[in-house]
Amino acid sequence: MKALLENRKALVGLAILAVFAVIAVIGPWIVGDAGEFVAVPLAPPSLAHWFGTTGQGQDVLAQTIAGTRSTLLLGVIVGFLTVAIGAIVGTAAGYFGGWTDELLTLVINLFLLMPGLPLCVVIAAYLPSGSATIGLVLVVTGWAWSARVIRAQALSLRQSVFVSAAVVIGESPLRIVLLEILPNMTSLLVTSFIGATIYAIGAEVGLEFLGMGNIGAVTWGTNLYWASNDVALPSGSWWTFVPTGASIALVGFALAMINNALDELSNPRLGAERAFVRATGRKRLEIHAPTPVLRTVANVRR
């Protein structure tokens, strides 16, 4: 955790994320009812309405803030559930091996191959629209990505000495998976969770944009749905869709940065090269120079 706070990428990511987390928690109380008609429709940004108004005369800033909570909450829940299912399927396949593994890998690969959006739409078309439906659909279509990486890791941990020892002692498979295997892939679980959350937010916004969510609620996806349906583009009202899109991108970018930083921590080579090049003042590493593993390179100056 301390190392994470010393990493520049992680700091940027955590800072952005913290801002959005605060907005998500207190935002809805500050802005009140974001669906309220406040001014002339499609008014450009002004002092009274910093981000202008929508095609229905609602305040864009208020809508962006109000949408933060529901969007992020659903994203985190879906991210957690996909990793949970991925962990169950992945460790089962990796631990038991044999035909269990063959069968589960087949199912994982099938779900990986199917294009997510059409599958989402097929399922969502038959269910009452709302965030519960969207969450369910995203979990069904998204779990295979985490299952795949977790299976690979579980497979290699299964061969490790301490797992063999536990098997010899006669521990139950459930206990081994919970106490020996899962704790040893914490960093993988965390990065999969972050990756799954990025996917969930993007896909959720996409589905809501198509009008498959509850279009009466205020979320980032429905904001964009209304922006594209109320002549916002032809009339030049860029402010109706830019704030929401920028928020989505910032959250996604922040999560990706944290993931990159975690990768660098578990694999020190990744970040070391640039630090080395900068410290030695060279243009680039020679092709055959070994990857520097030192992080502090103050004493390697020319």
């Binding site: 087949l106 990986l112 959006l117 599958l119 739409v121 996409g206 583009l233």
Partner: protein
């Protein structure tokens, strides 16, 4: 050959699974499509019509396994039923028209983005720590964080509505007759620029980063060092020794990601009213055209399976070990 046959077997299983899924999903859900449509046309349909509607959608009173085999035999013959939104056109004919445009747009954008991303990844790994290596990854990560359709909206707004450089919607000018004539081809290429550009911008970063990391691993291999020791020209080492080997894991990832990329490009089509599968999908959802929704799910899945088969063929061509 054995490799390709095994993969082909897997794709057949996948095809069967998706056909079955399209059958099972509507039957797992509360209610059935016929009742939903009936409710939508409040009062304008006679109760007797409900039964014929059910029959048309394959929801008969026959036992489920009988329905399933009937459905399978229809699907095998390519008979996907009749579209409700485009009645009396069949689902097959409606989709066939749209599929051409999706394959054109997505194929073009995906191949271009993969080639560009791979080359960028190769270049940035070859000169690790150089300026390209410093600037491109964070920039492309940021661009990749935008949802496809949002970037499509922004691009359409800027280059379409504000600057007027490119046409706003559809795949070609309505006043032209489709065919192999110059004005039509020019119009088609003008219309494809913006949608393709958005797909490329969002996806190129992913290809670049994964290529970069595999290239760095391959560069540490002994055979690359040996190639240097032999005094081979640098270009030859880059393309014949490093790139060819680094491409293999990337190609496998390419196949896996195709479904994801296709989903995004369907959303892009909707923004640009590009007459492909995505545009059709949103029309089908809005008009509760269940046969069409199912048909679109099947054809998009089959396109991804077909594309993966091509990727496997490329794998065999690049990697002599799979030819055994």
């Amino acid at each position: 050959m054995r490799f390709l046959l095994r993969r082909f077997g897997f794709y057949l299983t996948a095809a069967w699974a998706s056909v079955t899924l399209a059958f099972v999903i509507p039957r797992l859900m509360p209610g059935d499509p016929a009742t939903a449509m009936f409710a939508r046309f409040r009062g304008r349909l006679k109760p007797q019509a409900l039964d014929s509607l059910r029959a048309a959608l394959g929801f008969t009173h026959a036992p489920v396994w009988k329905q399933y085999f009937q459905y399978l035999s229809h699907a095998l013959r390519g008979d996907l039923g009749v579209s409700i939104g485009y009645y009396p056109a069949t689902v097959g004919s409606v989709i066939a028209q749209a599929l051409v445009w999706t394959l054109f747009l997505t194929g073009l954008a995906v191949v271009f983005s993969f080639v560009l991303g791979t080359l960028l990844g190769l270049a940035s790994a070859w000169k690790r720590g150089g300026w390209l290596d410093g600037v491109a990854p964070p920039l492309l990560t940021l661009l990749g964080a935008f949802p496809y359709f949002w970037l499509a909206m922004a691009v359409l707004f800027l280059f379409g509505f504000q600057l007027g450089w490119f046409p706003l919607r559809h795949a070609y000018d309505d006043q032209l007759t489709p065919g192999l004539n110059l004005p039509f081809l020019i119009s088609v290429s003008q219309h494809v620029v913006l949608p393709a550009l958005t797909v490329v911008v969002v996806t190129v970063g992913g290809w670049m980063l994964s290529m970069r990391s595999t290239v760095i691993n391959v560069m540490a291999e002994d055979y690359v060092l040996f190639a240097h020791a032999k005094g081979l020209p640098e270009m030859r080492i880059v393309f014949h020794y490093v790139a060819r080997n680094a491409l293999l894991p990337n190609l496998a990832g390419f196949g896996m990601a195709l479904g994801f990329v296709l989903s995004g490009s369907l959303l892009t089509e909707i923004i640009f009213s590009y007459p492909g599968q995505g545009y059709l999908l949103i029309r089908a959802v809005k008009s509760l055209d269940y046969p069409l929704i199912q048909g679109l799910f099947l054809t998009t899945t089959f396109s991804v399976l077909g594309a993966n088969l091509l990727v496997d063929a490329a794998h065999v061509w690049l990697d002599p070990r799979t030819r055994g």
